[in-house]
C-alpha cells in the first residue's frame, strides 16, 4: 500500500506509451541552437512543437536586454508584487502593455496560468455565473475551481449553446462572465467572437478573452483575436502570456473597467507568489517592442503556417482547425499517434503529442506549430518527413471516411 496507489491507472497508461517507443513527457532539449533547432538525446532536431510563434526566444536584442537587467537588478525579487517584488521593470512592462492594447489597466503575473487562476476566481464571486467554453485550457478550469462562482460549460465555440445557457439564467441574480480563448491551443481554431459579443451584449454579461496563443499572432497590430474580429471594445478583460509569441514567461490581465487595480489586493495568485525576475520582465518588454516595430514577423509567420498547413492538407492528412500557427494532425488511435511521434523525432522533427483526455475529442493529435523563424527548407523537410512517416503507418486520410 502506498499513497501513490491511486495513480496506478495513470502509471499503466504511461508505461503502455513507453512500450510503443514514445515518451513525450521525458523529452529533454540538451542544447538549443536557435528558435527552430536543438538537440534531443544528442540528435539534432527541428523544433515544430513549441509556442515560440515569432521565434523571439533567441532574438539577440531580447537576450541582451534580459542579460542587462539580470546584471542591474539581480537574479530574482524574492517577493510578491504587493510586497517587495515590484521593480521598475514590472511597472514599465505594465504601462507598455496597457499602451500596446489601448487599455487603461494592466496587471503582470508570474505566469499566464496564474493570471487565469486569478481572473476566474476573483472576477466572478459567490452568486455569480461563469460561462466557460468546454474546451478551455486547464488554467481556466482550475481558476473556476478556485473561486466560488457557479460554473457552467457551453459547447465548444458554439454561440447558440452559450445563448441558450444565458437565457436559462434569466431572472437569477449575480454577474455573468463569459470566458473564451482567442485561439484554442490544441486545434488552433479561433473563437467566434463576432457572434459571441452579440450574445454578451444582449445578456448584459462580461466577456473575458484569453489571448494566450493569439497575442502577437492575430490582428493588424498583433493584439489578438479580438483585434482581428474588430470587437475589442466589447471585450471587458483580456488575459495573455509572455510564454508564447514573446518567448519568455509571465502572464497579464488588461481591462478598461474602472477600479480594476483593486484586484491587486484581491487576487491570491497575484499576491501569494513571487514576482517575475527583473531579467524576465526586461526580456518580455524587449520582445513586445520588437513585435510593435516589426509587423513583418507576423506576415512571415502566417506565410510559413500556410505553407506547412497546405503541404500536410495536400498530402491528405486530417487536420484540425484552420491554417494558422497551430496545425494539428488528427489520428485515430493512441498507438498510431505514439509511433508517428517517435518516428518523427527519430527523423529529426520534434512535434507535440497530445493524447486524450487532454485533447478536445477522443482523437490523439500531433500538435505541430510553425514560427516566423522557420525557413521554407525546414518547413518542407518537416512536411516531407510527416508524409513519409504517415504513409508508412497508414495514417494519411484515414479519418476522412469516418467524419464524412
Amino acid at each position: 500500500m502506498s499513497i501513490l496507489d491511486k495513480f496506478e491507472a495513470l502509471r499503466h497508461a504511461h508505461e503502455a506509451l513507453q512500450e510503443l517507443g514514445a515518451d513525450p513527457f521525458a523529452v529533454c532539449f540538451d542544447s538549443v541552437a536557435s528558435a527552430t533547432e536543438g538537440t534531443v538525446a544528442g540528435r539534432p532536431v527541428l523544433i515544430f512543437g513549441s509556442n515560440n510563434y515569432l521565434g523571439l526566444t533567441c532574438d539577440p536584442e531580447v537576450v541582451a536586454r534580459g542579460v542587462s537587467a539580470l546584471r542591474a537588478f539581480g537574479s530574482g525579487t524574492t517577493g510578491s508584487r504587493i510586497a517587495n517584488g515590484t521593480y521598475l521593470g514590472h511597472r514599465t512592462l505594465e504601462t507598455r502593455l496597457a499602451a500596446f492594447f489601448g487599455r487603461r489597466n494592466a496587471m503582470v503575473f508570474t505566469t499566464g496560468y496564474q493570471a487565469n487562476l486569478a481572473m476566474m476566481s476573483t472576477l466572478a464571486g459567490r452568486g455569480d455565473h461563469l460561462l466557460v467554453d468546454a474546451d478551455s485550457h486547464a488554467s481556466i478550469y482550475d481558476g473556476c475551481r478556485l473561486g466560488a462562482a457557479e460554473v457552467i460549460r457551453f459547447r465548444h465555440n458554439d454561440p447558440t449553446d452559450l445563448a441558450r445557457r444565458l437565457r436559462r439564467l434569466e431572472g437569477e441574480a449575480g454577474d455573468r462572465l463569459i470566458v473564451v480563448e482567442g485561439i484554442y491551443s490544441m486545434l488552433g481554431d479561433r473563437a467566434r467572437l463576432a457572434e459571441i459579443v452579440e450574445i454578451k451584449r444582449a445578456a448584459g454579461a462580461c466577456l473575458l478573452v484569453d489571448e494566450a496563443h493569439a497575442f502577437g499572432v492575430l490582428g493588424e497590430n498583433g493584439r489578438g483575436a479580438a483585434e482581428e474580429a474588430c470587437v475589442e471594445a466589447d471585450v471587458d478583460v483580456i488575459v495573455g502570456t509572455f510564454s508564447k509569441s514573446l518567448g519568455g514567461i509571465g502572464g497579464f490581465a488588461l481591462s478598461d473597467l474602472p477600479g480594476f487595480d483593486v484586484l491587486r489586493l484581491a487576487c491570491r495568485p497575484y499576491m501569494f507568489t513571487a514576482s517575475l525576475p527583473p531579467s524576465v520582465a526586461a526580456a518580455a518588454l524587449a520582445a513586445l517592442e520588437r513585435i510593435e516595430r516589426t509587423p513583418s514577423l507576423r506576415r512571415t509567420l502566417h506565410a510559413n503556417a500556410r505553407r506547412f498547413y497546405d503541404g500536410l492538407a495536400a498530402a491528405g492528412f486530417a487536420l484540425g482547425g484552420e491554417a494558422g500557427p497551430i496545425v494539428s494532425i488528427r489520428l485515430s488511435d493512441t498507438p498510431t499517434a505514439a509511433r508517428f511521434w517517435a518516428a518523427l523525432l527519430e527523423a529529426g522533427v520534434y512535434v507535440n503529442l497530445a493524447l486524450p483526455p487532454a485533447t478536445p475529442t477522443l482523437e490523439p493529435l500531433l500538435r505541430c506549430s510553425v514560427t516566423a523563424a522557420h525557413t521554407t527548407a525546414q518547413i518542407d523537410y518537416a512536411v516531407e518527413t510527416a508524409v513519409a512517416v504517415g504513409s508508412h503507418l497508414g495514417a494519411i486520410g484515414e479519418r476522412r471516411s469516418i467524419d464524412g
Binding site: 460554473v151 457552467i152 460549460r153 449553446d161 475529442t361
Partner: protein, 84 residues
C-alpha cells in the same frame, strides 16, 4: 414538469445506447464507475440531457453526482422542463 421517474427513464434509455447491449442500468448504477464511460462521453451525455430538459448543470453539481438517480434528482431540482 417531468417526474424523477420520467427523467430516470430518459437517462437510462440514452445510456443504453452508449454501452454494450445487455449491460444492466438502473437508478443505482454509477455512471462512471459501473459503465466504464470516459469523461468526454459523459460530458457529451450530460450536455445532451441539458438540452433535452432545458437546464444547465453547474460543474460542482456534476462532480457530486455518481448514480443515475443523483443525476435525475439534480435535473429535477434545477427545474427540468418537459423532454423535448
Amino acid at each position: 414538469m417531468p417526474t424523477e421517474a420520467e427523467i430516470t427513464e430518459t437517462i437510462v434509455i440514452r445510456l443504453r445506447a452508449l454501452v454494450p447491449p445487455g449491460v444492466e442500468i438502473g437508478p443505482q448504477t454509477s455512471i462512471m464507475g459501473d459503465l466504464g464511460l470516459d469523461s468526454l462521453t459523459v460530458m457529451n451525455f450530460v450536455m445532451w440531457l441539458e438540452d433535452v430538459f432545458d437546464v444547465s448543470l453547474p460543474m460542482d453539481r456534476i462532480v457530486e453526482m455518481e448514480t443515475v438517480a443523483d443525476l435525475a434528482r439534480a435535473l429535477q431540482s434545477l427545474g427540468a422542463k418537459e423532454a423535448s
